[in-house]
């Protein structure tokens, strides 16, 4: 027996078993009224996975489905990129400069507890297009997490690194570029991963509330796709939309994880 079995294969096998068991139980629950005459609460109202799969296969040929996917992804990327672009420098500034911290932090702490979705009506009012409003709400979702992670990461840098760098003759810019920045990268990666998760949560809800984009039903994104399916009574499509979002969020997080591992090669990983 090989004691050093590839954990990846074993993990993959177990993941498959778990997914199949989940689908089976779901199928049983959803069809129990028809098959056994007993309705299982909650699950009994959900379309069975076989029907969802059939609907999905149909949708794969529908350009509207793919457009919804692309629309949401673009909004997520826009909001997320903006949040990184503003959040990282601001976080570094707050961590490095006490005066800036005293000036900006109260405002930040006041705005932070506001749920991103509470921004939706205001965002629709003060941004000229629907598209910008949704991207802005997505930005808000990721922004605070990123800023706080950067502030935390840059603020927790071991003082000995600064002492060593300065003693060896490094000056301000070099200390920033070669000590502060790399020391903060792990915190940035964590902030980005958490922020990315929030942007997917936020974008879908924002799309539902705002009723999609200006380009009509197909440009509405995944959130609008789900909402539209609900209005139109296509319940299988609701589930397809939900799972699609799950896959999209997972893919984005995985991409970030890989990118994060590449930019922090010095970290020991299990």
């Amino acid at each position: 027996m090989n004691l050093l079995a590839d954990p990846r294969t074993r993990a993959t096998r177990r993941a498959l078993v778990s997914l199949v068991a989940f689908a089976l139980l779901w199928e049983l629950g959803a069809r129990s009224k028809a098959w056994f005459g007993v309705a299982v609460p909650w699950v009994g109202h959900v379309p069975p996975p076989s029907a969802v799969l059939a609907a999905w296969v149909r949708l794969l040929g529908d350009p509207g489905y793919w457009q919804s996917w692309v629309a949401s992804l673009l909004r997520v990327l826009a909001g997320f990129t903006a949040a990184m672009a503003v959040g990282i420098p601001l976080g570094l500034l707050l961590a490095m400069n006490r005066v800036c911290r005293m000036i900006f932090f109260p405002v930040l702490e006041l705005l932070r507890p506001i749920p991103p979705l509470a921004w939706v009506p205001a965002a629709i009012l003060f941004w000229p297009t629907q598209e910008l409003s949704i991207a802005f709400v997505t930005f808000v979702g990721a922004f605070f997490t990123i800023v706080l992670n950067v502030v935390g990461g840059a603020g927790a840098i071991d003082v000995r690194y600064f002492q060593a760098a300065r003693a060896m003759g490094a000056t301000g810019w070099n200390v920033f570029r070669r000590v502060v920045l790399p020391a903060t990268v792990p915190a940035i990666v964590v902030g980005a991963a958490v922020g990315m998760g929030i942007t997917w949560e936020v974008v879908v809800a924002a799309e539902m509330i705002s009723g999609g984009g200006s380009s009509g039903a197909t440009g509405g994104g995944m959130g609008f796709f789900i909402w539209n399916s609900y209005i139109g009574g296509a319940y299988e499509q609701i589930v397809v939309g939900m799972i699609s979002i799950g896959i999209a969020g997972y893919a984005c997080s995985e991409a970030l994880r890989r990118l994060g591992a590449r930019v922090t090669p010095w970290l020991v990983r299990a």
């Binding site: 000995r160 002492q163 003693a167 003759g169 070669r178 010095w266």
Partner: protein, 287 residues
């Protein structure tokens, strides 16, 4: 020879007003050029504060810290610290860590490449130049840190319990490495430790510190021949005498620290009894 440090009447306290906490008071200390001075004292006596003052990370509240007669300003590369636990930059590989100082000062590559390579070779890390610190053993990390400091050619090396946390075997190897490096370069060394065996093996001068306030209790000249070998030092009567002398002093200081603690407790109890005396006579006040 350059690299003599002197502390005169140095006091250092932290905090203001009621929260003021004096750590050093009236400390006079000489660290002669080109010699290996080991500072040993009971834990918590202020050795790390001393290190920060010598390095220039902090200024004394009173008194003067000088290097070759000139007052020490901020941190600079003439006095470099090797820290208690590794302070290598985790995000740079060994080669980049070692090259950090010269590069940061804008020295041209031909000005530091040969020395950096020679130092890496010298501390046995040439094959590990591309590794990150997290991929090195504890002993390798300390060697990399010694190299990172030495490439800057400091006049004074300040080592704050640099080999703490290493296993006994690695520690002994590090002592040999470090002693060799010192014997080659004869740079001024100020080595802070709490380990008496380490102290006797390494020191030219052993400075035993007193507890609260930290002052020089006694300076012992460790006149053992160099190069030293661990076995010779273990077998040497002179080394044993020095060790016993230092241990006696350290024991006294530890007892004083302990007694100091219980005296404070005793004063507190006495004051407490006096406060209650007028109302209810306690057994103590009656007796």
């Amino acid at each position: 020879m350059n690299g003599a440090m002197q502390l005169l009447g140095v006091a250092k306290s932290y905090g203001e007003g009621a929260a003021r906490r004096p750590v050093l008071e009236g400390l006079d200390l000489d660290i002669p050029a080109g010699r290996l001075t080991v500072i040993i004292g009971p834990s918590g006596c202020g050795k790390s504060t001393l290190v920060r003052l010598l390095a220039g990370f902090e200024r004394p509240t009173r008194g003067s810290v000088t290097l070759d007669g000139r007052p020490v300003g901020g941190a600079d590369r003439r006095r470099l610290v090797v820290f208690q636990e590794s302070a290598l930059f985790p995000w740079m590989n060994v080669a980049d860590n070692v090259a950090y100082g010269p590069r940061a000062r804008g020295v041209r590559p031909q000005g530091w490449r040969p020395q950096a390579a020679a130092l890496l070779e010298r501390v046995g890390l040439r094959a590990f130049a591309g590794r990150y610190p997290s991929q090195l053993s504890g002993g390798m990390q300390r060697r990399a840190e010694l190299a990172r400091a030495l490439v800057n050619e400091p006049e004074v090396m300040i080592l704050d319990e640099p080999f703490r946390g290493l296993d006994a075997m690695t520690r002994e190897l590090m002592h040999a490495y470090y002693a060799d490096l010192f014997e080659e370069t004869r740079r001024t060394q100020c080595f802070v430790t709490t380990d008496i065996d380490e102290a006797v093996f390494l020191a030219d001068r052993l400075v035993v510190m007193s507890h609260a306030p930290m002052r020089v209790r006694e300076v012992i000249e460790v006149d053992l021949p160099r190069p030293r070998r661990a076995a010779d030092v273990l077998a040497s009567d002179r080394a044993n005498d020095i060790k016993m002398r230092a241990l006696t002093l350290l024991h006294e200081e530890a007892m004083r620290a302990f007694a100091g603690g219980s005296r404070a407790a005793g004063d507190f109890l006495a004051a407490y009894a006096r406060r209650r005396a007028p109302a209810v006579p306690t057994p103590e006040t009656r007796a």
